[in-house]
Amino acid sequence: MEQSIDIRELNERIKTESSFVDLLTIEMNKVIVGQKHLVEGLLIGLLSDGHILLEGVPGLAKTLAINTLATIVDADFSRIQFTPDLLPADLLGTMIYSQKKEEFVIKKGPIFTNFVLADEINRAPAKVQSALLEAMQERQVTIGETTYKLQEPFLVMATQNPIEQEGTYPLPEAQVDRFMLKIVIDYPEKEEEQMIIRHNLAQSFPKASSILKPEDIIKARKVVKDVYMDEKIEKYIVDIVFATRFPEKYNLDKYKEMISYGCSPRASISLSMAAKAYAFIKRRGYVIPEDVRAVCHDVLRHRIGLSYEAEANNVTSIEVINDILNTVEVP
């Protein structure tokens, strides 16, 4: 009975604490036309302290989305264009000699901010990618002999262009795994595109207002962690992740030769965190299987390694995830 009261209390608390989600969504929708999935993904990443890898052709409001989010949260934002000649020091910062002080002083790089947009991350060489991904993981940067903590909240949204793969440095699997979500965005709908034209022709770009402080996000993250996840849901998540590793045990023998490696334990953690954040966005104090299924594609799509056989048969990771979701029994 006591536990039952806790859940009711938690539900009430979450309903109160998550009230900003609606406001934030309204503000985002004022500026971003369509791209609901992108906005939802940004919110999940923000609330579950995970980073986002975004794949989409140029001009789909990726920069605008994260810029707007930074404005709404009243946080710092920087955009780094990744190029082949970028150096880790350009990103993290370096020590420069000050003639006035006659000593080396620290010059912090653009990573010292709340929201980072790493544009076209696959255009920079591996050492720059590693520097960013290390900072993402450790949440600290060492310049010279001093280690600096990064600001909180710290959210990296890296973009990749699915076309023009020439001269790029594709992210290694181990590094892609560090992104909590990989969101694939598509072109807007006809009506949405019409609306975009109108906004642009009228030069009347709506502006988002600051309604939150970074501290509110940190507080909300703590509440998200408290969202109740039943053992049945945990088992469901484990089953989904295990089905990517041993498909033959889940009557998915056809994928045995097509999956070269399944999802890591980091996928299970990310899936449960993202499901909790999704439940929070839906203003619920507990996770239901719908939450897991809603975030499953974005969490797992970049973590399943497909074999040459799968590529030859045009099998995508999304098809594999769909089949897993349609095969694994829902609790």
Partner: protein, 344 residues
């Protein structure tokens, strides 16, 4: 020494020397003529890629050393060696020996090919002599049409027509037919004797019809009811069993993958694919939603809600069950079984 003496001393010496020289000349000529080298071909004409034998033969006095010509893969640039035979020897009565070697040759170039004289090295004491064979010629004929790429590609031969002839399989039909018949008889015999042992008598057994989904679901709900789960504080287990029974029923009744769907998806699919009345759907919604709350949110409903959920589950199954029209025979069987049960 004798020659020198004769040359110095008299004219007769000159005559003797001349005589000696005259005697020596016929001897060397004979010696050279005694070694005969020859090369012969089986035929002077072959088709392109065809094979013939080239026989090299040398006849010489017994004890004379001879070196056979050595070829690697080709005789000439156009004539290739397919197979190289060993050197064969044949002793003749007149203190002579005949050595021979056979080469299997071929050519893939059409035209007239010239085989130059083949040389044998003869070692006569310290002297080295050479015996040549006669030159040969080999005509290689191309039977195929000349391919002119300008005229386009065409088959060397047309597609061969091989019409089906019954006589071809008639030879085997009795054999294979017999084997199949024996196997079929063996299988029939095995099944017949096995069933006879079991006392079934017939190899054709009437398959029992699958139980209708509602029968299974109602039986499961009865089990849940009699297990008194919620009365024994097993509320979560109670709702899990009730919702799973309903999901299993929906899966078999409407052929929807309900076991792999969430409650929301099940309700959405049922609304879309069936014409169930709204009040019945509301009853299903009540059970599934309450089950989700109990299963995933530690929710503890009131005892009345447990009873209501079970009642709604029964109601949903009963109202949506499939009407099965039984045949007369099935009706008769059912009545007989009922009568048997009542007698017992």
């Amino acid at each position: 020494m004798n020659i020198k003496f004769l040359y110095k001393n008299s004219k007769t010496g000159i005559i003797v020397l001349a005589m000696l020289l005259l005697c020596l000349f016929p001897f060397t000529t004979t010696n050279a003529q005694n070694i005969n080298a020859s090369a012969t071909l089986d035929s002077t004409t072959i088709l392109i890629g065809g094979q013939i034998d080239l026989k090299l033969e040398v006849s010489l006095p017994n004890g004379t050393m001879v070196n056979f010509p050595t070829f690697n893969d080709t005789i000439t640039s156009n004539i290739e060696i397919v197979e190289k035979g060993g050197i064969d020897s044949l002793k003749l009565d007149n203190n002579r020996i005949v050595l021979s070697q056979i080469f299997r040759i071929t050519s893939f170039d059409s035209g007239l090919h010239y085989i130059p004289p083949i040389k044998f090295e003869i070692l006569d004491g310290e002297l080295k002599k050479v015996a040549d064979t006669d030159p040969l010629s080999l005509m290689v004929v191309n039977p195929f049409k000349e391919v002119d790429p300008q005229k386009g590609m065409f088959d060397i031969k047309g597609v061969q027509d091989t019409p089906f002839k019954l006589s071809e399989i008639l030879n085997y039909i009795y054999l294979f037919g017999g084997i199949i018949l024996v196997i079929a008889l063996a299988i029939w015999g095995f099944i017949y004797f096995r069933n006879r042992k079991k006392g079934e008598g017939s190899i054709f057994i009437k398959a029992k019809p699958d139980e209708p989904p509602h029968v299974i679901a109602l039986r499961e709900l009865d089990k849940i009811k009699s297990a008194k789960l919620w009365e024994n504080n097993k509320v979560k287990e109670f709702y899990t069993s009730v919702s799973n029974t309903l999901r299993f029923y929906i899966e078999n009744r409407y052929h929807l993958p309900a076991m792999e769907q969430t409650s929301h998806e099940i309700l959405k699919d049922i609304k879309k694919n069936t014409d169930i009345d709204k009040p019945i759907l509301e009853q299903l919604t009540q059970v599934l939603e309450l089950s989700d709350l109990v299963k995933f949110a530690k929710f503890e409903p009131l005892p009345d809600e447990h009873a209501l959920s079970l009642m709604n589950a029964y109601f949903f199954v009963d109202k949506t069950k499939e009407n099965i029209i039984k045949s007369l025979e099935e009706e008769k069987e059912a009545l007989m079984e009922k009568a048997k049960d009542s007698n017992n």
